[in-house]
Amino acid sequence: MSRMNWPAVRAIYVFEMHRFLRTATQSILAPVISTSLYFVVFGAAIGARMNTVDGVPYGLFIVPGLMMLSLLTQSITNASFGIYFPRFAGTIYEILSAPISPVEVVLGYVGAAASKAIIIALIILATAALFVPLRVEHPFWMLAFLLLTAVTFSLFGFVIGLWADGFERLQMVPLLIITPLTFLGGSFYAIEMLPPFWQTVSLANPVVYLISGFRWSFFGRADIGIAASLGMTMLFLVLCLGAVTYIFRTGYRLKS
């Protein structure tokens, strides 16, 4: 019986998706409303006074960044909450005593968190289509970046959920690190619009590569080479996988 325990992966996945659906109103309505607000403020009010960025109308230009912003925060919060809550409530005993391998646990939780994040990103895309005429030049790569980023940051969220020992810490990383990095990562501007010094500083921000690659899949142009974007995303994925593997191998915060 050393084959995969798929029923367990399915059970965790369904459980987590069910939690998402239970709060469907806020899970879905919130991103729709905030996206609409961004379009009203940035797209209509400010964008109307701006020229195109890199040949792309400003309203359209911010779509990939908006999607990324939600994708990152949703991936992290969903995954971290998903694994933190059973630890907090004590129901984690069931996961630990079940015939499940770490790979299956991660597939269930991270798979569900990434799915939710992707669904929300696609809802944002659909909302955006109501405001601007959308065009996606490389749909395959767009979906690939979406998937890769969602999985990577869900893994990252999973690590945070294991590390956190309180709800404050759970909120801390998305709020204090991810949101600033995303805003400074070119969600609302092209990196080349910055003074040279800040352009260099920006290159240390991993989110820059994600947004740039994602934007390339939409418009066929980017701040940074697509290979570098893809490479950085993969690197972060590997780092997160390594952290998760280490945690399960040592039982850190899971077992005494």
Binding site: M1, S2, N5, W6, P7, A8, R10, A11, I12, V14, F15, H18, R19, R22, A89, G90, T91, Y93, E94, I95, L96, S97, A98, P99, I100, S101, G251, K255, S256
Partner: protein, 308 residues
Amino acid sequence: MPPILQIQNLQKTYASGLSALADVNLEIARGEIFALLGPNGAGKSTLINIICGIVTPSGGTITVDGHDIARDYRQARATIGLVPQELTTDAFETVIKTVSFTRGLFGLRRDPAHIERVLRDLSLWEKRDSRMMQLSGGMKRRVLIAKALSHEPRLLFLDEPTAGVDVELRQDMWRLVRRLRDQGVTVILTTHYIEEAEEMADRIGVIRKGRIILVEEKAELMRKLGRKQLTLQLAEPLSALPPALIDRGLELGSEGRELVYTYDSQAERTGITRLLNDLTQAGLSFTDLQTRQSSLEDIFVGLMRERA
């Protein structure tokens, strides 16, 4: 067939340096009901949590149905159902969803008929669509049992199953445990209610400060340590035992108003008839008599005192 559970030289020292288990050896036979008795903090839950994979042992080996719990953890864990001590539940989930979830975790295909049977057995069927947070403590306890039974375990752990549970549920639980045993399920329960062990168990183990200090058939234990006392209230107080009654296991108590006779209730000859005859011969008359059997509780308290 290997024993359903075999523990050899098990040790656990927590990171804090606390030694929770020291050199525990235990073998549990298929189909028995085993009660693990011990005061709070003796290591009962640590032992169970190690067997179930929740706590990592510091040393020793454990096999469940012949499967090593570390190397063949899938087979070992699939055999085990665990009802934890704490009432930890998913507050927002419904009863039927949370019970079905557990079955999935254990790698089994959905089986609504089995889930329905388990819920009905535990009088939970009417509550199947209630959310966990709407249930009383007793009902939550039933749900935890249903979760453990959802994947048809062959070894069931009940960690303090009747702590804070009303009489009705306690009796339901005892009935359930007997029914499970009839189906061939091995049950290990921890408790500090001695009456529970006395009522249910085939064998009893006593754990104290991380060591198993005694494992014995319940009947044997009761027989070995189970003494009975006959107390006779004398009509006239005595200042000393009559010479004919010395060296007969008799004691004079309550300033000579009582005669206390201690005997082995399981013995072929208890000596009661002879004693009563001798008392009549000695011209002693009595106004009342009582007998008292030492319970498992007396035995337990005695053991703890002895080893303290």
